[in-house]
């Protein structure tokens, strides 16, 4: 087997293995890039409600009265009062923030976004441990794909022809952007 055939076999087979991971990292990359505009992993639903003002003054009684007025029978897993006028009730399936003097309530339900949550967890390496090694191997695989990709074709469309211009453009893109970021942006 000559070197170009070995190069092409490597490029092809690593490419096949990389498809799934590239989709995960690519989709998650776009999602996470826009984290200032949306939460890429969770859907947070907030709904305003109105109940009668809470009259009780003792903490335990405030919680009991709030639960009764909200019609919630299950006990909260935690409660918190950030200030004298506010009570927060935390349940497994959602949270309530109650303005005690007015009875204004904000309910909050947080749900992981299907598929995107899992993609983002893997992309951001939240599991750590074994995934760190898999992600490292994938990164090495991408480097090998990039290098072998340059030598798949020979001739006018290969690295000595059009490939040289396109590869050069790809290398210069981050260099020029970084200079622009440093001195212009």
């Amino acid at each position: 087997m000559n070197w170009r055939r070995l190069n092409n076999v490597l490029h092809r087979d690593i490419g096949y293995v990389a498809v799934g991971l590239t989709v995960v990292y690519g989709v998650s990359g776009i999602a996470v890039n826009h984290v200032r505009d949306w939460n890429p992993s969770y859907r947070v639903e907030k709904v305003a409600l109105q109940i009668e003002p809470i009259r009780a003054t003792d903490r335990a009684e405030i919680v009991a009265e709030a639960r009764q007025k909200l019609g919630v029978t299950q006990p909260p897993r935690n409660t918190f009062r950030p200030d004298p006028d506010t009570l927060q009730l935390f349940f497994r399936d959602g949270n309530y923030t109650i303005d005690l003097p007015t009875g204004r309530v904000i309910t909050e339900r947080t749900r992981p976004r299907p598929v995107l949550y899992e993609f983002n967890q893997l992309h951001l390496n939240t599991p750590k441990r074994l995934w760190t090694w898999i992600a490292d191997l994938y990164a090495v695989g991408l480097i090998v794909l990039a290098i072998t990709g340059m030598f798949v074709l020979k001739g006018k469309t290969g690295i000595t022809g059009r490939g040289a211009w396109l590869t050069g453009a790809g290398v210069l893109l981050p260099v020029f952007y970084w200079l622009y970021h440093l001195y212009v942006e």
Binding site: V35, N39, T79, F80, F90, T110, P112
Partner: protein, 154 residues
């Protein structure tokens, strides 16, 4: 007899898996044995400044953007303390709100100028998608937080 032993082993394994699943670890292992009350830190922040502590409390807020900090309810009313991890070291899930966390880290006391508070307040408002009133800033403010790399949530 053999059946009883197998049953005992299966039950023990199930309990172990169940218990370990109930407590989720983030970052490094907790090392301190003694738990410090958040109210004690607030009562005398300077004496805790720079010291490593372990505190426990309900998670009342989670960083919506990166999951890099949580706010823990104090043992006293109307108090909460922020636990901050370096970006990417720990990512707290947004749905951890309401669970109980035990965290370990170094107490950091800083005095924020008005300008710093305005900048920080705007940034936080953007992160948490909440309104920020610049008029709420009145003079320098002492901020106490814990910076660390170890947490357990259950």
């Amino acid at each position: 007899m053999r059946r009883a032993i197998v049953t005992a082993v299966v039950v023990t394994l199930c309990l172990t898996v169940g218990l370990s699943a109930a407590v989720k670890k983030y970052g490094k292992d907790l090392t301190l044995k003694e738990t410090t009350k958040i109210s004690d830190i607030y009562a005398n922040p300077d004496s805790f400044n720079g010291k490593t502590v372990k505190v426990r409390g309900a998670i009342v807020e989670v960083c919506e953007m990166k999951g890099c900090w949580i706010a823990l309810a104090s043992d006293k009313e109307f108090q909460q303390m922020r636990f901050k991890a370096d970006d990417g070291v720990i990512v707290f899930p947004l749905d951890a709100k309401g669970l109980t966390a035990t965290v370990e880290g170094v107490v950091t006391v800083t005095v924020e100028s008005e300008a710093d508070q305005l900048e920080h307040g705007k940034k936080m408002a953007e992160e948490m998608k909440k309104p920020f009133d610049p008029k709420s800033v009145k003079g320098p403010k002492t901020t106490v937080m814990i910076k660390g790399e170890a947490a357990e949530v259950q």
